[in-house]
């Protein structure tokens, strides 16, 4: 007993102050990409050629965050002349097309659906379906339940049954073998319901693009309300998206 109390004392209070204060992330973190103004077309082309995800639109000089895995290759080979990855983790969007960006993202709060805020602003119960990713997105959704993030303090929880939920959070590129299970889970959720796509796999197929076994984009199967990009999205990216879109 004494040991338990001693440990409790040592652990202290660990919950972050987000959204009131932004917690610091280490310098090498790659968040929102900012395309540099006036970059030469040939540099953009070089970056596009080197991009493992073919996520760079040369004509528009933009990056598709839905395809991007935030490896930072373009920043490195262009010495930051084409793009710099900032430490800004607030990168989610309500439209897939907004993910193709030069770094100026529309404010998520203004694009959220007002009836969702009314319905779910004080209590949001979500069912998660893992559909063929690498389990990193799941892991960084799971950490939202740890004391540092403490998602439940906002009235948001992951629940066991789709019958108890207001929406579905999907991770992974939806393999052929998971499609039926995903659709059945979606069907089981009472309407009105929310669909959230987490991670580049879910949004575009991500690293698995080109495989005949996957769907290239959850939006080809279900109507998606919220897109959270990343490989995987940082837990704070997830937290920002949920709080901004629903609160």
């Amino acid at each position: 007993m004494l040991n338990t109390l001693k440990n409790r004392f040592e652990q202290g209070y660990r919950t972050c102050a987000y959204p009131n204060e932004k917690p610091a992330v280490f310098d090498r973190y790659r968040g929102k990409p900012m395309v540099q103004k006036g970059v030469a077309a040939e540099i953009v082309e070089q970056c596009a050629k080197a991009c493992p995800q073919d996520a760079i639109d040369v004509g528009q000089k933009k990056i598709d965050m839905g395809r991007c895995v935030f490896c930072g290759a373009c920043e490195r080979i262009s010495n930051g002349e084409f793009v710099k990855f900032t430490k800004d983790f607030e990168i989610s969007t309500s439209q897939k097309s907004h993910l193709l960006t030069d770094g100026n993202l529309p404010a998520l709060a203004r694009h959220s659906k007002q009836h969702f805020k009314r319905l779910f602003g004080r209590s949001l119960q979500l069912r998660q379906v893992s559909a063929a990713g690498c389990n990193a997105c799941e892991a960084d959704l799971n950490v939202l339940a740890t004391p540092f993030f403490d998602l439940a303090r906002f009235g948001i929880n992951f629940v066991a049954s789709p019958r108890h939920s207001d929406g579905i959070v999907v991770t992974g590129p939806v393999s052929r073998n998971m499609r039926t299970a995903l659709l059945q889970t979606y069907e089981a959720i009472p309407s009105p319901k929310v669909v959230i796509a987490v991670g580049s796999c879910t949004i575009t197929g991500g690293p698995f693009c080109g495989s005949p076994e996957i769907a290239e984009g959850l939006d080809t199967i279900l109507p998606v309300d919220l897109f959270i990009p990343g490989c995987p999205p940082h837990p704070l990216t997830n937290l920002h998206a949920l709080l901004t879109f629903f609160k």
Partner: protein, 502 residues
């Protein structure tokens, strides 16, 4: 032991003409004799070479041994004599339509049509898209009931189907059917541009990013004749140990949660995140994605990073030690962990378990000690002591390894190293070559094989996650165990679904 297989080193490029190509009977005889005398299967797979299909086996004793043969359309199953071939034979049947006659349980692995448009060995109709659409093993009797769980589980976890045959609370048999996450990773690895190779390898199993990333990088390095510098090796070793730390600590927290001892569950949940953040400190990603590339690493260990890493580890170490003590000294925890889900050394050996699950059952194998790569040649990896094969032993192995990993990282942080960072580019693999790489990731032995054709294109890329060996260990642990202890046992193995499903 004399045999016809060729002895190779971990990560050594071998000209394919040097690999012994045996007549099938000799291949079978040699492979079985090696495994019967205690050898283990690292890889056993089929591949298409021009018009013919070949089989390749990589076995391990205290050496790595390799041989090939022409694949017959059917053959007497090796599994009848040696269990460690069980899943490998099913995988070959699924991928290439080659039937192992007399296989004790011939069913699909990942539920997809074979690569040769041959009639399906399992008689599946793949226009029906449910892997679980199959007659599960059944136990007959008045009192028997079945429990079906998944593919969608109650938590935020990966999909898979578990079918329990129970009498009352007691599990007589657990059948595990995976394949829901099949993404055709091996085929992608064989077909994509070089620049995508590292990204794909890192996404085979995100919690084993460094483990799979290293296997890929070492294979490419072998076939391009590039040697990563000493600094890169140190950084990669630190990254692999950070990955082990984060996952082991997360597992211990989850185990604590499953016996309803909540303080360590919460503390370890948070501390795990702190270790993930240290991976982010190194390379900008909490899972280490983007760090390891063929030729070295993409990020140096600057003095700032060293200092922060050192400080954070110094701060975390006593916390970890105290929570470990809290968890392991609680009698309520001991009562639940001990004698729960025991896998005997005999069973573990015959199933070919690897990693912490194998070590907990008395199989000391650790690739870091037996086939050291990166900086492991200079690091002593002690054998674990607790080998009772139960949940307690699987937890205790993690306890020990957590402390070892912290020690390893601390011993490397200030190593006077410099490294030339690399960026992914294109590379030319040496033609008609073979390489096998083996690394001890946190779940156990990860292995990749790369075989190139005469133009240097990848003819076969074979991936094996440690979970491929260990899922049957979980089934075995559940025999005669209360079904309510399933979550506890499942966490004590904590296997990868996506690493298995590929």
């Amino acid at each position: 032991m004399s045999n016809a297989f060729l002895e190779v080193s971990n990560g050594e490029a071998i000209a394919r003409e040097k690999i012994v190509h045996l007549p099938f009977n000799a291949f079978q005889e040699n492979a079985l004799s090696i495994v019967k005398q205690g050898g283990k299967v690292v890889q056993y797979f089929g591949y298409k070479d021009q018009a013919s299909i070949k089989l390749m086996a990589v076995l391990r004793t205290d050496k790595l041994l390799v041989a090939t043969c022409d694949a017959p359309e059917s053959y007497p199953s090796f599994t009848q004599i040696c269990e460690p071939f069980h899943l490998f034979e099913r995988e070959i049947a699924e991928q290439f339509g080659i039937r192992p006659e007399g296989h004790p349980w011939l069913k699909m692995v990942r539920y997809h049509p074979n690569y040769r448009d041959l009639p399906d060995v399992f008689g599946n109709d793949y226009t029906k898209d449910i892997p679980g659409n199959y007659a599960y093993y059944q136990v007959d009797g008045d009192e028997i009931h079945e429990v079906a769980v998944g593919p969608v589980h109650a938590g935020v976890i990966e999909p898979g189907h578990f079918r329990f045959n129970c009498i009352g609370e007691r599990v007589l048999h657990l059948e595990i059917q995976l394949g829901y996450q099949h993404r055709a990773v091996e085929n992608l690895l064989q077909g994509v541009q070089a620049k995508r190779l590292p990204i794909l390898a890192e996404n085979i199993a995100g919690d084993t990013t460094i483990g799979h990333g290293l296997c890929m990088a070492q294979a490419v390095e072998a076939l391009t004749g590039v040697q990563p510098d000493n600094g890169a090796q140190v950084i990669r070793t630190i990254a692999l140990e950070l990955e082990r730390l984060a996952n082991h600590i997360g597992d211990l927290g989850a185990l604590s949660g499953d016996v309803a001892f909540l303080p360590p569950a919460n503390y370890f949940g948070r501390i795990r995140g702190d270790f993930l953040n240290l991976a982010l400190l190194l390379c900008g990603n909490r899972f280490g994605k983007g760090l390891v590339r063929p030729g070295g690493v993409r990020f140096p260990l600057s003095d700032d990073i060293r200092k922060t890493l050192d400080e954070r580890i110094k701060e975390l170490k006593p916390q970890v030690e105290h929570v470990l003590e809290l968890l392991f000294s609680a009698s309520t925890v001991r009562t639940r962990f001990e004698d729960c889900g025991t896998v005997s050394t005999h069973d573990a050996d015959r199933l070919g378990l690897v990693g912490p699950a194998g070590r907990a059952s008395g199989l000391p194998y650790d690739a870091r000690r037996c086939f050291p790569a990166e900086a492991y040649g200079r690091i002593e990896i002690p054998e674990n002591k607790k080998t009772s094969g139960d949940v307690y032993a699987r937890a205790k192995v993690r306890y020990d390894e957590v402390l070892q990993s912290i020690h390893i990282i601390q011993s490397l942080i200030w190593a006077p190293i410099e490294t030339e960072c690399v960026e992914t580019g294109s590379f030319d693999l040496s033609p008609s070559s073979f390489v096998v790489t083996v690394n001890e990731a946190w779940r156990g032995e990860v292995s990749h094989v790369m075989v190139t054709d005469e133009t240097g294109a990848i003819l076969r890329y074979k991936v094996k996650d440690p979970s491929f060996h260990n899922w049957n260990g979980l089934s075995m642990a559940l025999r005669d165990t209360g079904i309510s202890d399933f979550p506890l046992n499942n966490k004590s193995f904590n296997l990868s679904y996506c690493g298995f499903d590929l």
